[in-house]
């Protein structure tokens, strides 16, 4: 009798503990990105998109593993690789298994290396790295590892898609390439030269130039050179104030061709261009919003704007990160064994909220997806409440599906 009671009690206790563990265990995702300093607006907007995606797409749908909720824990890395590594350690010490980061490939390179080392040395508390924006091709080539997953199309894939579109346009005979004088600007220029040379050797590159990053007051002299070079199209990887300055200057000074860009949208840029950019500005990216892919996507954007009237759903891939992670955790049946979750993510095919499929390529953990060329024009779902936004002009389906990779994936 006594024994039975004891057994019963301990069983009950075990059940209670087990149950509370099952219900109270949030799946925490560390968001390590700049939340102060010059890039704070980008970081904060990204954080809002993560929180919103976790709430709408996972928690309101009943969570993962039958009830566990996603929780986003924010860490400010001030866009410094050194600070990021400290925050990574803090996150790991808090028992967080999923690290999300995107702004700056410099930070991503530091994180992926640190996470690889950490996972080797501490097989009991390994973590996964969900890279949602850092586009340095090396991350899924020479520097790839099992723990790193990239959800954005990398710089080469984007340039590949962009040059596909340029190659189809017989009107383009002369191209001008201009960018900021640092690793990313140089990578864009090199990729543009390479792909254009392969696809349209007849296109003449009439200018290939770098300008100091963040220091140019007036882009007029650059604009004059571009106009007088007779370029039919220009390509730039510029972002932030350099993008607005360059774009507005060439348009004011008589350039009428297309301006192909990577980052000329949201965070005030769309509003700054307004009517001036209509008809010229193009952007290569994933995740279309106009026309909306589905009613679900439409409602998602509306709900986001209702909660954050000044925000933009500018990094649509964040919903893919959240949905695919939730799916992988459910498939693996665990949120703590990240090897199983990683295995489930590998090769996963996912129907994106924004239309099209996402395929997480197993050999290098690069998400293969539709890459679109957007035109800056008047749209229903705008950026910066400006009436202007990104309208899908052309699409490269599953861009760079068969592209080579130098990655030699070592699985645990």
């Amino acid at each position: 009798m006594r024994n039975t009671t004891r057994l019963g009690l301990s069983t009950a206790l075990a059940l209670v503990i087990g149950a509370s563990a099952a219900f109270a265990d949030n799946v925490k995702i560390a968001f390590i990105d700049p939340l102060s300093g010059p890039f704070a607006s980008t970081g904060t907007n990204g954080l809002h998109q993560y929180e919103f995606a976790a709430e709408e797409l996972v928690n309101k749908q009943g969570g993962v593993l039958g009830g566990d909720k996603f929780e986003i824990v924010a860490f400010d890395n001030k866009i410094s690789p050194k600070e990021s590594l400290i925050q990574l350690q803090v996150a790991i010490d808090q028992g967080i298994r999923y690290i999300a980061q995107g702004n700056s490939s410099g930070v991503a390179n530091a994180l992926t290396e640190a996470i690889d080392k950490h996972n080797k040395r501490n097989p009991d508390d390994r973590v996964l790295f969900l890279n949602y924006s850092a586009v340095d091709p090396a991350l899924t080539n020479d520097k790839c590892n099992f723990w790193h997953f990239r959800f954005d199309a990398n710089a080469d894939i984007k340039m590949d898609a962009l040059t596909d579109i340029i190659a189809q346009d017989d009107g383009i005979k002369k191209v001008y390439i201009i960018g900021q004088d640092y690793s990313f600007g140089k990578a864009v220029a090199a990729a543009a030269e390479k792909f254009l040379g392969e696809k349209r050797p007849d296109i003449e590159i009439v200018g290939n130039e770098l300008h100091p990053i963040g220091k140019v007051k007036d882009f007029t002299p650059y604009a004059r050179k571009i106009v007088s070079s007779g370029a039919d199209a220009m390509i730039t990887g510029n972002w932030g104030a350099d993008m607005v300055g360059l774009g507005k200057s060439v348009l004011e000074n008589g350039y009428t061709g297309p301006i192909y860009t990577y980052y000329a949208a949201a965070d005030g840029i769309t509003a700054a261009f307004g009517a001036a950019g209509d008809g010229s500005l193009r952007l290569v990216s994933e995740g279309q919003q106009n026309p909306p892919a589905s009613e679900r996507a439409e409602n998602y954007v509306k709900a986001f704007k209702a909660k954050y009237p000044d925000g933009n759903v500018s990094q649509s891939r964040i919903t893919n990160v959240i949905e695919m992670l939730a799916k992988a955790i459910n498939e693996a049946g665990t949120a703590t064994d990240v090897v199983k979750v990683g295995m489930a993510l590998e090769g996963m095919e996912h129907d994106s909220l924004w239309g099209g499929k996402i395929f997480m390529r197993p050999q290098d953990h690069q998400a293969i997806q539709d890459v679109h060329i957007f035109a800056h024009t008047k749209v229903e779902y705008d950026y910066d409440n400006s009436g202007y936004g990104m309208l899908t002009e052309s699409t490269v389906e599953m861009a760079a599906m068969d592209s080579p990779t130098t990655c030699e994936m070592k699985r645990p």
């Binding site: 963040g214 007051k217 007036d218 007029t220 650059y222 106009v227 007779g230 104030a241 004011e252």
Partner: protein, 318 residues
Amino acid sequence: MDLVLVNLIDGLVTGLLLFMLSAGLTLIFSMMGVLNFAHASFYMLGAYFAYQISLFLGFWVGLLVAPIIVGIAGAGVERYGLRRVHQYGHVPELIFTFGLALLIEEVVQFIWGKSQMAYEIPEVLEFTAFAIAGNSIPAYKIFMIFMSVAIFIVLLYVLTRTRVGMIIQAALSYPKTVEALGHNVPLVFMGVFGVGTALAGVAGVIAGPVLGTFPGMAVVLGSIVFVTIVIGGLGSLWGALVASLLIGWITTFAKSYNIEMANILTGIGISPPENMDESMFRDLWTVTSPQIADILPYILMVLILVFRPYGLFGKRDA
């Protein structure tokens, strides 16, 4: 040849814009003997105020009202800030204006955020005035030229031909004597500081739509304004004008033409190193003029300081 004309016009626009900033700064310097580090911040304030006003009342009201608000703010800073710090000497004054610059930038970010503002050229001026060989000159640039030239003429007239100007000039050189003659010298100082900052405000209003209205706009222009007044000669209006135009043209032409260092070096008879990748002078050989365009004014400043320390038009030793 056509491009030369276009570049002359572009350089003129850049130079005149720089002049509006440096004119105020150089006036304030000759008056108080202190460099106002926050000067470019008033330029930024001008752009932001005008943007805010233009949302409700249009560009032209902004052009009229924003500089006045900036001027009043500047006068307030002199009256309640600088004048109190003045008794402790120049270094505290310098630190005060430096802190003010940081403060203004943070306040601007706090109110308007870190993104670029959609401050636009007025629709009336949104057309191409004329085109030279495919390079269009926007009407707005012509407007900028006229604005700055008009301001220069008015300023010159007031300072040299009117009674107010005489008192200001006298107060600059002999404040004690002017005070003894019954003039309110502190008021003159406050007025000059207000007008100087208002000029920076005007520059902000008309430059905001073309150069962008964002929290970094003051930092980008801040140092070059000091370079301008050092080259021109501290306290000299003509010097500020000449130095501004000089800088405007130098940077514009350096950026427009890809002059390669390699050509210059071979031109003066130095042969390129055999193996460029291993040469220690590789950077020197591969540099092009657009890359160094923005540091040319600083090089010019160093040369001026070496050979003519009081600047092109300066009267006294800085």
